[in-house]
């Protein structure tokens, strides 16, 4: 493998913020030195946690009334039933309201891919990397527990969490399989809407999980890129004509995002198009490290801890034309 040359400025930044040098180099290239520092400061500051009110079980008004003496929240601009936790004198994952399934602890940015997919109550939806089920159960909530969701994942432990969340949140319209989602093409079923929340290095989660500053290497990105590409390709193949695919990751690395979409656009030229969702946040990159990518990529959406006060996220909405 070709080695990456790291300059002195990147190494100094990496040492100062305790991250891997290749990450510092990329952040400077992508956001300029000032932007990189701002991002890295946001990594240090951490993030406010989020909760999603489960409107299948309770109205948000009633939920907020119930928890107001223990958990202070603020509504998010993107999701009507999504709230930032400003203050809490209890563990939000262990209250009676949590046990009753009235809310689900969920990052604010992670609520946006289902909003973009926008499933209707009688749709047939595929969730390709579903466990532990935050987005699956949000999709079910948006579908009013109607229609069907086929939820797949390969991790047995996380599947247990998925099943537990489905039960706690009172979801009835999901069928789950312990299955590599790339194999869905062999099942011969077509879907109205498909969510590919792909496995990723999770760089966008560093404010919440500081250990990720050093736990993923550039080699991990290379390995994941292949999986991400294959998952998205399978998603497009099993989507109905005029159907919608949403690709998302909690990584801010362009290699896991724009580069994947760019390759898919080339492979499915004329058969798919990117739908513009960039007004939710920052536009996707159309040029990285001197490499020109499709102009359409500016329609994708990027969210950052230092700008939007959310986890770092990439979301792209794709329409299958034929």
């Amino acid at each position: 493998m070709k080695s990456i040359k790291i300059d002195k400025e990147s190494i100094e930044l990496a040492i100062e913020y305790d991250i891997l040098p290749y990450m510092a180099k990329r952040y400077i290239e992508l956001f300029s030195y000032k932007g990189a520092v701002s991002l890295l400061n946001a990594f240090r500051l951490g993030l406010k946690r989020g909760i999603r009110c489960n409107t299948l079980k309770i109205s948000c008004y009633d939920l907020l009334n119930k928890i107001k003496n223990r958990i202070i929240v603020k509504q998010t601009p993107w999701v009507p039933y999504g709230f930032w936790v400003l203050e809490s004198n209890v563990d939000i994952g262990a209250t009676p309201e949590y046990l009753f399934g009235y809310y689900h602890p969920q990052g604010i940015a992670s609520m946006i891919p289902p909003i973009i997919l926008n499933p209707e109550p009688h749709d047939k939806v595929l969730d390709m990397c579903a466990a532990p089920g935050s987005k699956t159960t949000q999709l079910a909530q948006m579908m009013e527990n109607k229609g069907v969701i086929l939820a797949l994942d390969v991790d047995r432990d996380r599947m247990r969490a998925l099943r537990s969340n489905i039960s706690r949140l009172g979801i009835h319209n999901v069928i789950t399989f312990l299955l590599d989602a790339r194999k869905i093409v062999n099942v011969g079923e077509k879907f109205d809407k498909v969510l590919v929340d792909a496995p990723c290095t999770g760089e966008g989660l560093i404010p919440l999980m500081p250990e990720r500053r050093k736990s993923r290497t550039f080699y991990d990105i290379m390995v994941l890129m292949r999986l991400q590409y294959e998952l998205l390709k399978a998603a497009i193949l099993v989507t109905k004509k005029e159907g919608i695919i949403v690709y998302s990751t909690c990584s801010i690395a362009p290699e896991e995002n724009e580069v994947i979409i760019d390759s898919i656009l080339k492979e499915f030229k004329g058969k798919i198009e990117i739908v513009d969702i960039s007004s939710y946040g920052e536009k996707g990159f159309t040029e990285i490290y001197g490499l020109r990518l499709s102009k359409e990529l500016e329609f994708c959406l990027r969210l950052y801890p230092h700008i939007h006060r959310t986890e770092g996220f990439f979301i792209c909405k794709i329409k299958k034309k034929i």
Partner: protein, 190 residues
Amino acid sequence: MQDKEEDIKNIQEIVYEEIKRLFGNYALRFIVESKYDMIVLKRDMNLYEMFLVSKELKQLWLTIQDRIKQKPYSIGLFAGSITKRKGKLKLKIGLDLMEFLAQRLRRNIVIVNDHAAMLFLYGRDIMLNSIVDILPPIGYLTVVANRGLEILGLAKLLINIEGAINKGAKKDVIALKNVIDKGWYLRKGG
């Protein structure tokens, strides 16, 4: 694992009988009218799991089952499990199904005071003097709820509650034994 049609029908029958026993005939009519069906999945030689599913969900499962070459990890609403031991079948009705039926039918619910509700979520039993109301008929297995009718879990009846209250029985006896409570989601839910 091949599921025998006869076994499946037998298990469905056992579950429906149990639902009738706990909530009355009306519960079965409610399930049919709501267009729900029951799916039985054989997990191993001695374990079956049952799920209540919508017509659309069942249709999807029937369409893909031959091609996907495995059984669902879960589907729809968990209705319970049956274990086979020494030729005998032991049914465990699921909390999800009990909650679903109790909330919609407003039957077979024991309502407890706030203190008992909190303790029940930690796995404790219910004392007779903690019971503030009941929504009859109460089965041998009943749903436990707090004053806001929020479901806390399932419990087994140890005494005849209605009779005990009317006869002025000793109040500090254990009336309900905790079978499963929603604290389970923290303790074992994953």
